[in-house]
């Protein structure tokens, strides 16, 4: 089985985000990490490899910094890493990014399963996996909380998708795109053997030509969405109205009064 995991690098979840007048986003000195949601996808790929044998390749479309995400995935145990980039890829939206990713996966050629994390903690569109699946004409199994069955020879997969009301159980043919969600597994730590491999590895960079991507369809040129303005959310003025009655009963009564005034109960 050849499993491909798509990943990206993001600032740490605890990073203090800010934006300057020119719209440049900064995360201070927080290190770049593998997108936390992608760790579930990597872990699932590794579990499947343990069960069915095969290879796990981790892929990222990104500049030099994207190697941080690839290193972590290799240190967790992935076999190979591929980075795709051209400066023209800057300013991409889902349409443009999914185009490059789809081309890359086609170039890899023999992927049986393509895994994504649910969302990247930066732009948080949740869209890339679904868009890539559509481009590849593959089943899109987003929000998977459990891979219930997998038949690599018969080429079928059954998953449980966690939707608002409960779990939808679906079966689809392989190859398929699976979007993982938290709760599907517990991502392992990197291992020392993995750390040494990740440190020694050379990370190949594929060009747009190599994946067969047309330059007009990548980055800002290929994007449909633009984001002309990024800003800090308005700071909420003031603090809570602390309700302090003589007794708990009195405080509670006053609180209920307020909530009724606000028409929320």
């Amino acid at each position: 089985m050849h499993i491909v995991v798509c990943t990206k690098h993001t600032p740490d979840t605890e990073a203090k985000m800010s934006v300057d007048g020119a719209g440049n986003i900064s995360w201070g000195e927080s290190p770049l990490i593998i997108n936390p949601w992608d760790e579930y996808a990597v872990e699932e790929a590794l579990l499947l490899r343990e069960k069915y044998d095969g290879k796990v390749t981790v892929v990222s479309v990104g500049p030099e910094e994207a190697v941080e995400a690839l290193k972590h995935a290799i240190a967790m145990g992935c076999d190979e890493a591929i980075r795709v980039w051209d400066d023209a890829c800057q300013g991409a939206d889902t349409l443009a990014t999914s185009y490059v990713l789809a081309r890359t996966i086609e170039k890899i050629g023999d992927a049986d399963l393509i895994l994504f994390g649910k969302s990247a903690i930066d732009a948080q569109t949740w869209q890339t996996g679904a868009a890539v699946a559509r481009r590849l004409g593959m089943p899109a199994l987003m929000y998977t909380i459990k891979i219930a069955e997998l038949d690599p020879d018969g080429k079928t997969i059954t998953v449980e998708r966690l939707l608002e009301e409960g779990r939808q159980i679906v079966t689809a043919p392989l190859p398929a795109v699976v979007g993982t969600t938290k709760g599907i597994n517990e991502p392992r730590y990197t291992s020392f053997i993995g750390i040494r491999k990740a440190a020694k590895m050379a990370y190949p960079l594929w060009s747009l030509d190599e994946v067969g991507a047309e330059i007009e369809r990548v980055g800002a040129a290929g994007a449909a969405v633009r984001w002309p303005q990024v800003f800090m959310p308005p700071v909420r003025e003031g603090e809570a109205e602390i309700i302090a009655g003589e007794t708990i009963e009195e405080s509670v009564s006053l609180l209920i009064d307020r909530l009724m005034e606000e028409k929320v109960i």
Binding site: A75, F192, I195, R196, A198, A199
Partner: protein, 407 residues
Amino acid sequence: MDFSLTDEHEMTARMVRDFAEREVAPVIKEYDRAQRVNPDFLARMAALGILGICIPARYGGAGMDYICLGVACEELERIDTSLRVVMSVHVGLNSLGLLQWGTEAQKQRWLVPQARGERYAAYALTEPGAGSDVVAITATARREKDVYILNGEKMWISLANVAHNFLVFAKTDPRAEPPHRGITAFVVEREMAGVTTGDIHGKLGVRAGSTGWISMDDVEVPVENRIGEEGEGFKIAMSCLDNGRYTVAAGATGLIRACLEASLSYAQERHTFGRPIGQHQLIQQMIAYMARDYDMARLLYLRAGWLKNLGRRNTRETSMAKWFATEASFTAASNAVQIHGAYGYSDEYDVERYLRNAKGACIYEGSSQIHELIQAGYALGYRQDKPLRCELPAYDPEYWQTVEDTL
């Protein structure tokens, strides 16, 4: 001069930090309050290979270098000192001592299971009546044909009640001249008849850590368990301390960082006189010193680790790092409590635990006073290092990471 850490160092730090944050941080306060050891922590550290982090793979270890040992200790103590104490005795004092002084057979027999985390290791030098004055130890080892009969009591031994293998120092010749030549080192296993251990409670700090005593009553220790020559024990004990102290220095650096992080966070949340307290100068002063001391402590222990990687003698540099970092961590913790005000005085926040933990490190592995004397000795030329019969091997990635012996 390249001050940067390699990918391996950074990724090791990250992995240990993730483990400590996810698995230890949420529950450590309970164990500290209850003065109880959580056996799972040791087991998890063993499973992740941390207990053999810088031991060569051929001896069951993870094959990383000595700087990885340091950064791992920094990350562990940032969460709680008790985690780093494990590294100090299991890896620093005992396992690296075997790596340096053990015969091949001894390394296979004790180092391998220790590096794999199958057996836990401790270091038994201190006695109720002998701490700084090592030569005053009274434990004896009387040779009778193929065994030594050991008698005596060791106290303030970390992991006393959980360790399997103890590196014990006893006098084979109580009347030696000079007296330090009468000390010999042995591996004593918990299973041997006559060995009993017990817990010590009521410590000011490191309450989630196991500290206790080990008593030896006519324990028969085979000759094969003697480490080094008769009379070499003192030198062995001192060189083990070079590695134990290194982990203490790295750990104390992590403690300073924990104090700094807690203080920065609180300084931004807490408001007095209409502003966050981080804008008040006297708070800023305390934070400035913490930031300074963190940088200094870190540079000192990394230098010591670098020397170890090169196979160079580092007694002076390691002592300097330990002395500085531990004293600085106590000051940082005291100031962290001060910055937190009344909340710092309560165990609702972590800083009071940092303060209680920090003090211990100023006492063990060479009290601060001992280190002052060591440093003066080096500076004045009264103290000079002579080569040892066995040196801690320089880090060689090829040797450390291959399992088969190609000789």
